[in-house]
């Protein structure tokens, strides 16, 4: 395949990469004044990068010598990633100005992470997978420490980096073991080597476990979740919003592809691991959140619980399970984004960002719209009908029952009741309690953020059910890309 054909297949990434270089140059010359313009340019770039995704054929097209594949799964995930990244750039500017960290690197770093994620979900070889993962991770470490004068932010960056580096090491070790036992890094060759019935070696299983551990770290599944609350809490809020959305989608999508494509023949082996980390994540996320006093930490534990639920669909391993995972990721992305936007708009009369749970008390009296939005996101994350967050939970449970994973389904629903407690606590603070602090509508928060908040709230509300038809068709098509 010629270079030009490869460029055509990977047009999104090529557009992103060239755009990033251009924006970096502009930023370097224009300085931090250019933040606003660069942000809009970055969003535009993300929109342009989405265009080639729409006219890809139904089948998968391989490129760059088999390192890269553009199929319906990568298309679905990339659209979600681009959406999440664009939102993370859009909602950040007023916050960055308030926190006096309005540097032009912010949109550029997010774009770099987005490029990494796009490569990740299109990877068809363990090497391109690793390169994409590292590009995303390195950008994310810098983003976590973006507020460099703030001790908590620096700590978050360092912690994320140290643990992330460990995970990368595990990943590389797993890749090398797999390569050693199969003689190839290509997904196709590994799939043939690990086909059901083929003779397998214990060492290959080790390779799988190491790769799985690194991926579990990226999706913050128990027992590799420890970094999540600290990084969410320490990182600037828009960065935490970004971590909670696009990278989770990318890592989970990657996990789907790696487990079902190259390691598809070892399903019996990885299924038990996934069931265990799914149960552990749901249980620990639900219980751990109860004692939190910081909204960002609460959202981190909420992420852990919800990832546990997503993993139910992966444990089922069926087409329905994959479709449920993809659908869950989409709804989860919107709900989490909405919750973080609410948090971004929580500014007290002295212009300080408030993020303690206690600060939410009585918000329904002072800012009814904001409170209603946050209540919708909380109840939707809890999966209480009629909010739209119920549907993805239903989809993964359905997949689990189809696969006869009864214990997993029962533990899942019980964990969701425990988790409902802390989501309800937020609603209680919002609606039952008296206001404790005075909040203001911060400058710059009247523009994009209420729009994003409103759109996300409408999607998470019962109105979302009207989109069920197209969304499930889209997800089912993406699920068919996996063997």
């Amino acid at each position: 395949m010629s270079l030009l054909q490869s460029v055509a297949v990977g047009a999104s990434e090529v557009i992103l990469a060239s755009g990033i270089c251009l924006l970096l140059l502009v930023g370097a010359f224009r300085g931090d004044r250019a933040l606003e313009g660069l942000s809009w340019a970055a969003v535009l770039l993300l929109a342009v990068a989405a265009v080639p995704l729409f006219d890809q054929g139904p089948g998968g097209a391989s490129a760059w010598g088999g390192l890269y594949v553009a199929d319906s799964l990568s298309r679905y995930l990339k659209l979600l990633i681009l959406l999440g990244s664009a939102a993370a750039i859009l909602v950040a500017v007023p916050f960055l100005r308030r926190a006096r960290i309005a540097r032009f690197e912010y949109p550029v770093l997010i774009l770099l992470a987005t490029l990494g994620m796009a490569v990740m979900v299109s990877a068809r070889s363990l090497l391109s997978l690793y390169v994409g993962l590292e590009l995303m991770s390195l950008s994310a470490y810098v983003l976590a420490a973006f507020h460099r004068d703030d001790a908590r932010s620096s700590e978050a960056g360092l912690k994320y980096f140290a643990l992330g580096a460990l995970a990368s090491g595990l990943m590389l070790y797993g890749i090398s073991l797999t390569y050693g036992f199969t003689g190839s890094t290509s997904f196709e060759a590994i799939r043939v080597a690990f086909a059901p019935g083929a003779e397998r070696n214990l060492g290959a299983l080790f390779g799988l476990v190491f790769i799985l551990a690194a991926l579990a770290f990226k999706v913050s599944a128990v027992p590799f979740h420890m970094w999540t609350p600290d990084v969410y809490e320490g990182a600037p809020t828009p960065v935490a919003a970004f971590f909670g959305t696009a990278p989770k989608v990318a890592a989970m999508g990657l996990m789907l592809r790696v487990l079902l494509d190259p390691f598809g023949g070892m399903k019996a082996d990885w299924q038990q691991i996934i069931i265990f980390i799914s149960i552990a994540s749901m249980a620990l996320g639900a219980v751990g959140a109860i004692a939190q006093t910081n909204v960002k930490r609460l959202l981190a534990y909420s992420a852990i619980t919800n990832i546990g639920f997503v993993l139910i669909g992966l444990a089922a391993g069926s087409d329905a399970g994959v479709a449920a995972v993809l659908f869950y990721l989409l709804v989860y992305l919107v709900m989490t984004l909405g919750a973080f936007v609410c948090l971004l708009m929580l500014v007290d009369s002295e212009g300080r960002q408030r993020e303690d749970l206690a600060d939410l008390a009585g918000l329904a009296r002072t800012r009814p719209g904001l409170a209603a939005g946050l209540a919708i996101f909380m109840l939707s994350l809890a999966g209480i009908p009629p909010l739209f967050g119920f549907m993805p939970k239903l989809a993964v449970l359905n997949a689990a029952i189809d696969a006869n994973l009864w214990p997993l389904a029962v533990i899942g629903v019980i964990a969701s009741v425990v988790a409902a407690y802390y989501y309800l606590r937020v609603v209680k603070l919002l609606y039952f309690d008296q206001p404790a602090i005075e909040l203001i509508v911060a400058p710059g928060e009247q523009g994009v953020n209420p729009l994003v908040l409103g759109a996300a709230a409408a999607f998470s509300s019962p109105l979302g059910y009207l989109l069920l038809g197209p969304l499930s068709a889209f997800g089912a098509e993406a699920a068919r890309a996996l063997p």
Partner: protein
Amino acid sequence: MLSVMILLPVAAALLVLWLGDAARARLVALATTLVLLVMGLGLWAGFDSSTAAFQFTERQEIFGGLFSWHLGVDGISLVLILLSLFLMPLCILAGWDSVQERVPEYLAAFLVMEALMVGVFAAMDILLFYLFFESGLIPMYLIIGIWGGKRRVYASYKFFLYTLLGSVLMLLAILWMIREAGSTDIAALMAYDFPVEAQTWLWLAFFASFAVKMPMWPVHTWLPDAHVEAPTAGSMILAGVLLKMGGYGFIRFSIPMFPEATVQLMWLVFALSMVAVVYTSLVALAQADMKKLIAYSSVAHMAFVTGGLFALNTPGIEGAMVVMVSHGLVSAALFFCVGVIYDRLHTREIARYGGLTGNMPRYAVFFMLFTMASIALPGTSGFVGEFLTLAGMFGTSTSLAVVMATGVILGAAYMLWLYARVAFGELDKADVAAMPDLKPREWAIMVPLAAGVLAIGIYPAPLLAPLKQPVASLVARLERAGPPATGVIRPVAMADPADPEPLS
């Protein structure tokens, strides 16, 4: 028609929130509920009682083929929808003066509740049913938590988490059933014969949900807390309609979908009903708080419903439906009676009252009527229901009927004692003596409730007519499922239950 009845209150709720003005919001809410009541009566007028089939059906495939917006009513749903629509304007009126805080939100919560209640009883798709069934938790959580009493936060959590835990297991059972039967349609699932060994598990999963909702002993403990802390109108709707969702669930899902399991496990329901009726009646005797007493009496009355339903014969099931409707009216009325004097003296402690016949004679008359209806005095709706359920239970198990009949006596004891302490005796407390009698608004709530209670008590035929065919097909379904293992069900020779003559 049914879609409109669901969407109209939601639209009205949004309008009320948008208006943001208490006086206008009240009028909009009242007008909406009255319009819905008229629509409900229209539904009744156009209803064909000669068939067990679902009527007024609508079907829209707007959920991408996963499930559908499929609505319809049979006699059982019709009766419960009418009950909800009848109580709703009275609930709005009940909070007219006593709720002064965040009025638009309060009314919006009630309007949303109304839409969800109609949805629960009209859903013909099992997932749609689950959606409506569970959605009711959110507005009720807010009603208890925002406008409730001192321990409202505790009560609202308890209500929410208890009922949620019950329901999630049912959700798993529903998903399995959909996979097995290949349909989400309730009518298709009712006709599907699930494997007998699976039925037990499915039945238990549904039981977990409906027993909590009902509530049955020993999972009833959320109810006294929720009732006591909820505002008056919240208690009215909770006791009047929400508890009936449990009974509706049994009659719509558990019994027709798992007939074999129903017959196998009826002993469990009987045992719990017997314990409930005696135990909660005794507990009610010991209460010092009026609302708590009535809450415990609700649990006892619901035991009649479960006992009658699982007698699995025509009088038992019809009687259970009548008890549900009767209890819906009577408990709402009793909670309102408590609300009337609570608004005046701001205490629910029984000992703080006494001698109300002296200064509030009209109130005392209504209170007396509803007390008698709760005791099941002939001529009131309570009698028709309890008589039929006892007759049904007697046909299935004599010992059950004997224990349940004790409940009637205990019921008379705690209700009469309550009435005696509140209404009779010396009017020796100055603040009690200063309480004025009923206001016009309170008349407007008491009179329809009293009329309903008496009408059903004297001439229940119009209420029983739509029930006849659905109940007959339910009993036929049970017979087709094979003779019960224990052979305890004997055909009951009885007068036509549609035409009882309680007064002769």
